[in-house]
Symmetry: C2
Subunit: 357 residues, 2 copies
Amino acid sequence: MISSTATVTFDSLDLDCGVTLAPVDCAYETYGTLNSEKSNGILVAHAFSGDAHAAGDGGWWGNMIGPGKGFDTDQYFVICANVLGGCRGTTGPGSINPATNGPWGMTFPVITISDMVRLQKKLIDHLGIARLLAVAGGSMGGMQALEWAVSYPDQVLAALPIATTHRHSAQQIAFNEVGRQAIMADPDWQGGNYYDRRPPARGLAVARMVGHITYMSDESMREKFGRRLRNSDEFEVESYLRYRGYKFVDRFDANSYIYITRAMDIYDLTQHGSLPSLFENIDTRFLVISFTSDWLYPSYQSLEIVSALRSRNCDVAYVNLQSAYGHDAFLVEVKEQTELVTGFLKSTAREASVGRK
Amino acid sequence: MISSTATVTFDSLDLDCGVTLAPVDCAYETYGTLNSEKSNGILVAHAFSGDAHAAGDGGWWGNMIGPGKGFDTDQYFVICANVLGGCRGTTGPGSINPATNGPWGMTFPVITISDMVRLQKKLIDHLGIARLLAVAGGSMGGMQALEWAVSYPDQVLAALPIATTHRHSAQQIAFNEVGRQAIMADPDWQGGNYYDRRPPARGLAVARMVGHITYMSDESMREKFGRRLRNSDEFEVESYLRYRGYKFVDRFDANSYIYITRAMDIYDLTQHGSLPSLFENIDTRFLVISFTSDWLYPSYQSLEIVSALRSRNCDVAYVNLQSAYGHDAFLVEVKEQTELVTGFLKSTAREASVGRK
């Protein structure tokens, strides 16, 4: 499956903070073919450090998107866009501010999950899709799936929020804050004005190392590394973390790290009302998935969403998948997720076609 | 209770790495009175960032040590020493290397938990105590309690390893490594040669922030901070972490952080044999305590110790205390710990006096 990233530029985007960004680039990829009724579109939303390249070689959800896979590109038209605030083609703090002709840096306006979704909505409109079959995503991608269902309930038939929450806990905020502090503690950060110099590589690498620990489970780390030594005075887990940390620097912008984690932290679906009240009169079907060993987005957070949906008689299936992979499980547990997603999308498509008759 | 830190200087200390440190300072405090038989001495070992000041105003275990408390200073003579490698009076990387007349920095030899215990043994000998009634400690202090029981089984009647493990898991090593990397990423660290300049405050603060998250539980953070804001764009948990992080810099040395966390990571009681084999022929009595919400030193790690002790018919009591405080619980759950420790020490003292008859 060959796909390349396309970019569409929109005149403007109104943000929750009151600022209007103009213009706004949105980088995206698509896989599969949009049918003539334009009814088979599925938006896949990436997690914090992902990008538009969801499928094919090196795609972050390559094991879930493709011919015959969970998001079967023989049947569905799958879309993935780099989020607002990102650094992989969509407008973010590393983009040029037309007012100054220099990079935005930390003068980039505060962005939210709903701003990200508002930009995705423009993309979907641009693609001529009036109604998505589904929006799916794990972690921050799951927040976007939730936000889609609540903001555009008539434009999304099904939502698949995976390993996610409707708002961060103090612990989740704390881990993100440590990452931000690590970046800002790096003298190379320079208040975010480093685009013509060397980036805050050491700070960003440390931030990523913290992240990696939280994505794995105690058990999966024990199995993967144990106490094995790489050489006489270094544990394998240490060199792994450093390697992953510094590798991350090559593909990610430190200011995007700050802006996007901030968007996750301030995300709180209940700021517009109680969770049950938000799900009132929503016809969107839900498949909620969590993973037993995910301690970063613990299952109880998925259950909060499920309970609220059930209290309003929404159509919701919930599975707490047995897994040792921690938060990473949504990227790894292919077999179980494939079965769940395949069945759920099939029944959604069937209901949609019945509904249209 | 008034106590001040004393320092004793020993001619030398042989280290596991083969180096002999000479001379070696050991800072310690004592509380209560050593009886004429010198049979009521209890060594309390501090955790990673603690020091000799265990009791009294600001003492790290002030709620557990004192007249009528768990470690009752009306009955027992309680000793606490700053660990080898520390920065609060005992020789560590910030001390002067007599060979160069400058601070050791990163030329300080690698130290181990058993080196720490060997120095404590010298202190106990210096105090004229042939046999300790007990050695107690939480976290890294618990490692020392275990090490005492295995290295000097005839000189310690009872061991109280609390919220600890006989060897770090990959996850525990990983969190320590992130702290070390944060310090070493700070340009002010200068390869450890910062003693005549400003210390790597930002790196050390970030390291401490990570630590603080791991000491608390998801639940205790939710209860303490939730999503409360400190001001319009800052969560309370964020300012708390930053405050605690930078406050730590005033009292702790970054190189000590590196050396002591390293000692914890390389600690592996089983390098001398299987855990059950190490407990063979040990008469030391054990009280092992863990806490249900401690995810940094999970209860299963205490259970590994307990199972090995039971397999050798050692005298062991184990309690997995219900607590929401996470790893911090050993410093916070006073009531339950006091009851357990009081009863355990009382029966130990009784058996000791019977044994002497």
